[in-house]
């Protein structure tokens, strides 16, 4: 055996472990779930049988599931782009300040490293109606009318979205900052000598070079927002995704089907639907960005 063959064998051996892990705890259960989604499996029945696409028909006829899917799209469509744009702006600003970069970075990353459950509950309290909620107290001082926030079917979803954006900002800012540091200073210096202004450097050099990172974050954040669960679970009354299902995400719907109603097969089919959606969105983003990344 040659040295390089030996090396690659070692590498494969080490890589095999995660592969086995992946097959056992990801792929296996996923295939099992796919199979189960065609049965009438329920925790409240001792036996189950094949019923074809019945579960899929059922959930797509369930207005609550459709609403949950709609909510999930709203989380992703508004959440991911806003996070990316804001964090890009923040990291560009952070990159241009000479002092206190570390401190600011810490401030932005704090929400991300705080447990989501804690973050959710603190925000839930801050959103409370008067006389308890801090935000409404503030609005009162400013002479503005009190907001309903989590108690209103219209405002509840944006209210939860804001919290998630705030949390994700920390992660995206950190990644963008790292990306900015990989851009060689020489390029922008050379451009400056050639007479380029700040705007031109930003539009022609910095942003194009950040596209691979932006693409990565788009995919990650898209997935993150499509899977939103913990925030909704903790910020809606009795974890119901209310008021009136206005904040219920697909993930919460799946959870409730499985663990409140014990309809495991229906939950499995809803999981498949969510899985396919995430898959499609990710593939679409890859297609779209692929062309621009490798220029």
């Amino acid at each position: 055996m040659t040295l390089s063959a030996k090396r690659s064998l070692t590498a494969y051996t080490f890589l095999a472990l995660p592969l086995i892990f992946f097959i056992c705890v990801r792929l296996g259960p996923m295939l099992y779930m796919l199979a189960m989604s065609f049965t009438d499996w329920s925790l409240l029945r001792r036996t189950y049988k094949f019923i074809g696409l019945e579960n899929y028909r059922k959930i797509f006829n369930d207005p609550v599931f459709l609403q949950a899917l709609g909510n999930t799209f709203r989380y992703a469509v508004f959440g991911a782009p806003v996070v990316i744009i804001l964090s890009l702006a923040i990291s560009l600003l952070l990159d241009s300040i000479p002092k206190g970069k570390g401190l600011f970075r810490l401030i932005y990353v704090m929400p991300y490293i705080t447990p989501v459950v804690a973050v959710s509950w603190v925000w839930r309290w801050m959103y409370q109606p008067p006389p308890l909620g801090v935000i409404n107290e503030l609005l009162g001082w400013l002479g503005l009318p009190a907001g309903e926030f989590l108690n209103s079917p219209k405002q509840a979803l944006p209210s939860i979205l804001v919290v998630n954006i705030w949390v994700e900002l920390g992660y995206c800012t950190t990644i963008f900052l790292a990306g900015l540091q990989t851009i060689p200073k020489e390029i922008s210096e050379a451009a400056r000598i050639d007479g380029a202004n700040g705007r031109q450097i930003l539009m022609r050099i910095t942003l194009p070079l950040l596209i691979p990172i932006t693409f990565f974050l788009m995919v990650m954040e898209g997935i993150q927002f499509l899977r939103i669960f913990t925030q909704v679970y903790n910020m809606s009354t009795q974890a119901m995704g209310g008021p009136l299902n206005s904040t219920k995400s697909a993930a919460l719907y799946i959870y409730q089907k499985a663990f409140t109603y014990f309809e495991m097969a229906e939950a499995a089919s809803a999981s498949m639907v969510l899985f396919i959606i995430i898959m499609l969105v990710t593939l679409l983003q890859m297609r779209f960005f692929d062309k621009r990344v490798n220029y």
Partner: protein
């Protein structure tokens, strides 16, 4: 009788004696262990440990092992364990879950020899037998029951100029009291609720079994398979409830987190809550509260009763079954019921004990409620609760017409019930 014959007889006697004693010894040495599950509620768990000791000393040869789970995941744990054969022998369940588990075939029928119709009618309030019986078979027997009552904050009553010891007695009085007891800030935001309005607490039960009936409606057919509350009277009752929120603004869902928190913090002057709250409120320092029978309306009194109840899990057999039956009977005995009231604060499930607490200012309003209480026969407790909770939200948050909302709610709840019985 010859000497020999006598000897033979003695020998036989001796042999018989030997055999019997061996049998007794053998059975005594064979301890049978049964497992009991309930959710974790400190006072209940501690008391159960004591009761188990008591039971074990009265029944040598039987050991009981108590296992508890957090309340939030209890139902999940039960549903996941029993079909896997990892469940307990005796299990504590909310009565509203019984239909689901009985239908799933997870609970054993209680033997008629031990738990006869007579046993139930002699020892329990009528709604108990109705709620634990399916197709003429009994599946469960409780220790304690709970009802609703009106809690009021004496200090806030005094502040509003009311006699702190005289609570409102009718819905009309409650309406007037609640208005006067509500406080608002300069911008008109509610800062003190006259009456806590929490449909997802006990509010939905108050509407379902009390308000509907008081406005002249019968919410369900006798077997609870037909939803009947969407008539003129039912709508009037529902509107009375939502008007307190939308018109009088004396409270709203989730004000100060929820009704219990608001009442504990002195931010709600009145609340409709259950007897299970007594211990919680007793633990709050500087909270001077009273409790009264639910307000009546047009002379009609009604109440909602509910209970946690003990069943035997299917598959329990032989000595374990015998031991489980003994344990179930022990838990349902008047003796245990009395200790339960004392330590946990839940009401005895047997009417025979009610006389003793006739004059107890905290217990008696709940006991009186038991005399005319209804225990809704839920088939999907979470789902049916949600229907009414959402209905109130539709009116409050979306300004929908209560009549239309209630009619839709009835259709939705009927669908849940039909779905359950169809399968």
């Amino acid at each position: 009788m010859s000497f020999k014959e006598v000897r033979m007889k003695n020998k036989r006697k001796f042999l018989f004696f030997l055999m019997v004693s061996v049998l007794i010894l053998a059975s005594g040495a064979q301890t049978v262990t049964i497992t009991y599950w309930q959710y974790y509620y400190e006072s209940k768990v501690k008391l159960m440990d004591e009761l188990i000791k008591k039971f074990e000393s009265a029944n040598p040869g039987i050991k009981v092992e108590q296992v508890t789970f957090p309340y939030e995941s209890y139902n999940q744990k039960v549903a996941a364990s029993i079909p896997a054969g990892e469940g307990p022998d005796v299990i504590n369940l909310f009565y509203g879950w019984l239909p689901t588990y009985v239908k799933a075939g997870y609970l054993a029928e209680l033997p008629k020899s031990e738990f006869s119709k007579d046993y139930f009618s002699k020892n329990f309030y009528p709604f108990v037998a109705e709620s634990v019986q399916f197709d003429g078979k009994y599946y469960s027997v409780p220790t304690a029951v709970r009802t609703l009552a009106l809690f009021w904050n004496k200090k806030l009553f005094k502040e509003a100029g009311y006699d702190p010891n005289i609570p409102p007695k009718t819905l009309d009085e409650v309406e007037a009291y609640a208005k006067k007891l509500s406080k608002y800030d300069a911008r008109g935001n509610l800062i003190q609720a006259g009456l806590a309005m929490q449909p997802n607490g006990q509010g939905h039960n108050w509407i379902r079994e009390v308000l509907f009936r008081q406005f002249g409606n019968t919410p369900y057919s006798p077997d609870y398979r037909k939803v009947l509350y969407a008539d003129e009277n039912g709508i009037a009752a529902f509107k009375w409830y939502t008007d307190r929120i939308t018109k009088d603004k004396v409270g709203y869902p989730n004000f100060a987190t929820d009704d219990v928190t608001a009442f504990k913090a002195g931010k709600a002057a009145m609340n409709i809550d259950g007897s299970f709250r007594i211990a919680t409120l007793n633990a709050v320092k500087d909270l001077d509260w009273g409790v009264a029978e639910l307000p009546s309306h047009k002379g009609i009194k009604s109440n909602y009763a509910s209970f946690w109840t003990n069943s035997i899990v299917v598959g329990t057999s032989g000595k374990k079954l015998d031991a489980s039956i003994k344990f179930l009977k022990f838990l349902a005995s008047p003796e245990v019921q009395e200790i339960w009231l004392d330590k946990v604060g839940e009401l005895p499930a047997s009417p025979s004990l009610s006389d003793k607490y006739k004059n107890d200012p905290v217990i008696s309003p709940f006991l009186k409620g038991l005399e005319y209480a209804h225990a809704s026969a839920f088939v999907d407790e979470a789902g049916q609760r949600n229907v009414l909770v959402d209905a109130v939200d539709e009116v409050v948050l979306k300004k929908a017409d209560p009549a239309i909302v209630l009619k839709n709610a009835a259709i939705k709840e009927q669908a849940l019930i039909d779905d359950f019985w169809k399968k």
